[in-house]
Symmetry: C2
Subunit: 273 residues, 2 copies
Amino acid sequence: MKTEHLISQIRQKKSFLCVGLDTDLDKIPAHLLDDEDPIFAFNKAIIDATHPYCVAYKPNIAFYEAYGLKGWKSLERTLEYLNVNHPEIFTIADAKRGDIGNTSTRYAKAFFDTMDFDSITIAPYMGRDSVEPFLEFGDRHTILLALTSNQGAFDFQTQKVGDRELYKEVLATSKTYKGSERLMYVVGATKASFLKEIRQIVPESFLLVPGVGAQGGSLQEVCKYGITKDIGLLVNSSRGILYASNGQDFAQVAAKKAKEIQGEMELELAKLP
Amino acid sequence: MKTEHLISQIRQKKSFLCVGLDTDLDKIPAHLLDDEDPIFAFNKAIIDATHPYCVAYKPNIAFYEAYGLKGWKSLERTLEYLNVNHPEIFTIADAKRGDIGNTSTRYAKAFFDTMDFDSITIAPYMGRDSVEPFLEFGDRHTILLALTSNQGAFDFQTQKVGDRELYKEVLATSKTYKGSERLMYVVGATKASFLKEIRQIVPESFLLVPGVGAQGGSLQEVCKYGITKDIGLLVNSSRGILYASNGQDFAQVAAKKAKEIQGEMELELAKLP
């Protein structure tokens, strides 16, 4: 998907919400467990109910991988359901992959060819030749980890490399990668004020912001420091939407939660010139 | 597998060779492509032929993931074949995973519970709470990326963080993680002289050394700087063994190559006091 299509979807739906599909058999409503594919059944119901209020879905690949072949099958079905029924929606494989060149090419093939995701999250530790194979795919996006929302982010990401923090070094260096116009970045919302400095390095790039909701962080803060004239933000919520109810009404309650967030986003978008 | 079992296997076989299973349908012998599962057929033949000369196998997960469900099925069959027929052999999921705590727990479950690998490679960028969930599994090992063998290693890993390089900071910091006695480290052989300094930080840890063979690097150099009284090394070769021949004799030629490397390793082990 081209970035301009993502932007026009955001303007149309007045939302830059991404719904994280961290689907967990221990948390989904009990009545779904009798389904032959409870993970897909849950995802389908969530998608059917929430798609008017969001512009992206982000399956967290670990949750599918944990169930082995069965989980991968559920993931494939979920993505196919999205691509057939809602081709305008941006899909993110939250996979945190990254390896030497010829291996990264395989991961890119897995998520962009074998499956048909619009984007994938990538860890930057191995540098240029671990990232560029993903950037070779036209109209696909590579979402590089910059500053994550967990406590461990302070182990290395915020350490000074020369005169700036490692995550800023990642942002700046990655701009020199071939195909960098298709880079987006993961920036945790728990440190929204950092967004101001991040915007000095990547003034226009899309930022995927986890950590609004269950992981803490305020939408208003994120927008204050991070929004651009073309929005430039995807804000994710997973558990706060998926597991708002675990009764028969889970999908309706999820939709209500998603709509609430969309409403807040609409207010923020209205502030744009 | 306990580390002492790995060490005693190394002493018995006089080898610390790890065979990387980077199985590629474009490179395996054509006559295997008629098999209902060519990837497994290739892996089985390689394992049958090379297991006397190596102590570990390391499937590169990207190569399986690239083929979707079919690839995951081949991976599961390969691991099961190893665990049933060669339970003494150390298995490494070369997966380069890592995410926030509850997600890393899922990846750990995928590779240690759903599948039954002895170890997994992990990227350190997200810090402590992305690594510790893997370390919670007793008798399993977490192999943390320190210094990789690719050109991109110079983007971030060798940058100075304070008074030492980032990869040294990763080594030192990770020693404070809970369960760190089950940590091993990936250290690229293309920079064997760096092993001397690495051994000052992790004097006894096992190091997984890729990059001997196709990626360059000399076994003698690696041993000179990296070997410990309990060996402390696993040296990987993938393409140099797997694709030494693509004829009917591929498995015998692979065995010959593996035996050659085992012979060199035997010489190095003989130098130990």
